[in-house]
Subunit: 255 residues, 2 copies
């Protein structure tokens, strides 16, 4: 088969995560796959890049005949080093995931999975991040893999607008109850944090970050609504963070 697209796959749960294996096996019909993924979990890394220490990169055998490499950096590092040192060109597409756990609504900001897709979009590469709303290491990725295949097929066939990538989340639901795919916007939601205070064996305090997710958005056009109603959600995401509507207001300020 000629002209198979070159597809880079990465994630933030690390190269051994079952969610990434589900994605690789689901998308391998769509092109030539190369995996460059973190050598360990990088969840919650946001759009971190590694500038204060060197990176390691090595080939692995995790995916049999599919070329794969593990990197000591973040998901964004993986995309950067894949282009410069593994592929020696930009891949045609970048797909990230399947994440163990939701990256809907405000989680897009904290997500390493999504940071890889954002990094690709900054490079002008069509990209999507996939997440399953189930944190279980042994979650069933069958439905999420099927949704990923459908979305990736569309990205490959139709392309994406410039500067836009996709945040795809799949509900934890039996296949028979699954309703389909909805396009929507990022819901207005956030984490309400509590730090769990503990004392170490030497009598020093330490804190664990914990929190409850709160959705403040009653809209039926959001990712949270879709997921709560057994739809998979696609949110188009941009990396231009400018609040264009606020420029006129700020121009009234006196300095």
């Amino acid at each position: 088969m000629e002209n198979k697209p070159l597809i880079l796959i990465t994630n933030d749960d690390g190269i051994t995560a079952p969610g990434m294996h589900a994605l690789v096996h689901s998308l391998k019909r769509l092109g030539e796959i190369v995996v460059v993924a973190p050598d360990g979990p990088q969840s919650g890394m946001g759009h971190a890049v590694t500038i204060s220490k060197p990176l390691r990169l090595s080939a692995t055998e995790h995916f049999g005949e599919i070329k794969s490499y593990q990197c000591s950096g973040t998901p964004a590092d993986c995309v950067k080093i894949a282009v410069d040192k593994v592929l020696h060109r930009k891949p045609d597409f970048v797909f990230s995931g399947i994440n163990h756990g939701s990256n809907s609504s405000i989680n897009v900001i904290y997500s390493g999975t999504m940071s890889a897709a954002v990094e690709a979009a900054i490079e002008g590469i069509p990209a999507a991040g996939f997440s399953l709303c189930d944190f279980d290491y042994h979650a069933d990725f069958a439905l999420a893999a099927e949704v990923a295949y459908q979305v990736a097929s569309n990205v490959i066939t139709n392309g994406l607008p410039k500067g836009v990538l996709l945040n795809v989340n799949v509900p934890k639901v039996e296949h028979s109850n699954f309703k389909g795919i909805k396009i929507g916007r990022q819901a207005l939601a956030k984490w309400e944090e509590n730090f769990d205070h503990r004392t170490d064996p030497n009598g020093r305090s330490y804190y664990w970050l914990t929190g409850k997710f709160k959705n403040f958005d009653a809209g039926e056009d959001t990712d949270e609504w879709a997921l709560a109603n057994n739809y998979a959600s696609i949110v188009p995401v941009q990396f231009d963070l400018t609040a264009h509507n606020a420029i006129a207001y700020l121009n009234q300020w006196k300095f």
Copy 2:
């Protein structure tokens, strides 16, 4: 003086960074300041949060009479733990910086300084991040501190639209050549990366992330244009990453 606002100050260069000291001393006339900042450099951390290890938090004497605390986490962690464990309430304002180095255009995505301001905005707290376009540890922060004071005064007096925070960058320029403050949008720019390949004493490869900044945006309404023309730049930033314009296009896809 009654009803002084409670102002949280943080950064990503760490609590001992000269840029943070410049910000604290510039803003102390505006309210009651509390500092909660990383105990070491956290540059390039993007919107990382610490979920896989515990955090440490301890009081410091770095700012004399002004209360200050250092935290082992990221800038976003500092905002979260400040609210829950230091202030026991939301501060009235959060200001971050002054960063040693630019956070203009695409750097907003990678910036720890900006992630603290974004985290505050998610909590509904008016916030701004300040950066000086000079990476030197011993940079002259006088002009940046003056701009920070003017911007912070406006934020305190006028407030900010819901869901909007400010990304403020100050050029490295003599005061006599400074032209003033411009409101603008995030320029379309990116880093072109190269990884510097080296070999360690044991013969193993490692890589340093390096890159050149490239501005592809000829617009005169951008942060890069303002900075190149000796203006300080303010970009209003939002954490709703939805590319709303792309929703209609995606709704044409067939699944």
